[in-house]
Amino acid sequence: MDNLESIAVRVEDGLDESLRTDNVWPLLRQIEQALQSLQESGSETVIDLGAMPFSAQDEQDLRERLGRGEVNATVEAFGPTLVQETAFAGVWLVEYLDAEQRRLTLHLQIARIPDLLITPADDLADSLASLRRANRDFSAAPTEDVQ
């Protein structure tokens, strides 16, 4: 066989309207309830979209319904994680990718701020120590004469 064209199979690309699972609507109601509990009691919710039947078309529908908000962040740790606030404040899409850009999982987080964006408490001590070290090195370095 010379090339792929000689295989008599027609590959249909693009997203297919018909590949909807009808799961977007119940999910939107779940988000509504989660947002209500965030507002009333401060309790956060995380929904793992990788754990339910959810097609690429569903994801596109969901993203269109939720829109884009003001915050868009990338966390570079163990591969990138894309954090996107939706048009509904408090509703975030958190997409975990590995170093080769393959998706590990996709979370919907209903919170004031996704955990991943908060500086881990354990990092503060390390951070202070290394800043002190850097400052010591800076003050010890010989200053160059300005002509």
């Binding site: 297919d16 018909s18 699972t21 754990a51 163990f78």
Partner: protein, 354 residues
């Protein structure tokens, strides 16, 4: 060999930050099919997880299970979990061969007596005293009995180790059986599939690492988190099934529109596995997404249950009347019918084995 570092320490050594570690935990929770609210518990447990010794025995098998596990590209969650275990014996992956390999197995057994995990892939021939498959002159049967005696638990990877698989298929010339037909006094987890999904294999290992015990099992000793639902329950084509929209051939309009593959022989309604959500090839796709029905490879005796391309209602997977009615009843079915189908399947399996 075993060292004393925790998984968190290993990740830090590789330059994975605390945020990276939390991300690892989020991905591990997803891999173990646990809800995201478990992430902090997983993080706390993995911070402390030590490196377990694992002995992997391959019997009558095609090496597909090992291929499945090692096919994932680094760096992945599967890779990191797999790297963290101390794999002290595995024919295909270890550098040592012959006597040196067997000595490594014996040393690991002695050093970790009562604590090592035994992973088995492949079935075990019993006919004619098990002479049809030997390693270093030892029959699979006697090696299994010997190594199982000192194991903390056994993970049977693949349908062959779990239920006998293809070697067990009619006429079963070697008298092949799965591990649990021989070993009855140890905790055994079956991770069937031909081959099993790599994330399911590592998911079970991750569960052991995280919680220090084996996951909750179903009546066939399969982890509920991965095998608690049928392919059909989580199939993205399910709405077409409910609406009665089926592909009749592999190239008709229904097939092109992605309709349900039930009439083309899909065994999704009676097959318990995680393919529909965990998927294959780094979560790219799974057979039904590629346009082919499920063949039921994680179920006992799948090879002997009639044609892959005959609808369930026509085959030996269930009674025609019940499954025919299931297609018509549509939305009314779901989990209840799956449980019934499964009971029927267990009965069918028992019938065959008598």
């Amino acid at each position: 060999m075993t060292d004393n570092k925790t998984l968190a320490e290993r990740l830090r050594e590789r330059g994975v930050s605390r945020r990276g570690f939390m991300k690892f935990c989020a991905a591990t929770a997803s891999m173990m099919a646990l809800p995201p609210l478990m992430i902090p518990r997983i993080a706390a447990a993995l911070e402390q997880a030590r490196r377990p010794s694992v002995i992997w025995l391959s019997f009558q098998e095609c090496t597909g299970c090992t291929e499945s596990l090692t096919r994932s590209h680094a760096p992945t969650i599967e890779g990191l979990i797999f790297d963290h275990i101390s794999l002290d014996y595995h024919h295909t992956l270890q550098a040592a061969a012959g006597d040196a390999a067997e000595h490594a197995r014996e040393a690991a057994m002695q050093e970790n007596e009562g604590e090592y995990l035994l992973v088995v892939d492949g079935s075990i021939p019993l006919k004619d005293d098990g002479i049809y498959s030997t390693i270093a002159g030892i029959t699979n049967l006697s090696m299994l009995e010997d190594v199982a005696a000192g194991a903390a638990a056994i993970i049977s990877v693949g349908t062959c180790a779990a239920f006998g698989g293809i070697p067990h298929a009619n006429p079963n010339p070697t008298g092949a059986v799965g591990v649990s037909e021989i070993i009855t006094d140890k905790p055994i987890v079956n991770v069937p599939g031909c081959p099993p999904i790599p994330t399911v294999i590592t998911g079970v290992l991750a569960h052991y690492l995280t919680f220090g015990r084996l996951p909750e099992l179903d009546s066939l000793n399969r982890p509920m988190v991965f095998f608690g639902q049928t392919i059909h329950d989580r199939c993205y084509r399910r709405p077409f099934y409910e609406r009665g929209q089926f592909a009749d051939t592999f190239d008709d309009e229904g097939a092109r529109k992605g309709w349900c593959l039930f009439k083309l022989g899909c065994k999704g309604p009676t097959t318990y596995n995680a393919c529909a959500t965990a998927k294959w090839n780094d979560s790219v796709s799974f057979p039904i997404q590629a346009g082919h029905g499920c063949i039921g490879c994680s179920e006992p005796n799948f090879w002997d249950k009639g044609a892959f391309y005959e609808p369930l209602s026509a085959g030996r997977w269930g009674t025609p009347a019940a499954l025919g009615a299931a297609v018509v009843a549509g939305a009314a079915i779901g989990l209840g019918s799956a449980a019934l189908a499964r009971k029927r399947q267990a009965e069918a399996s028992e019938e065959k084995d008598i």
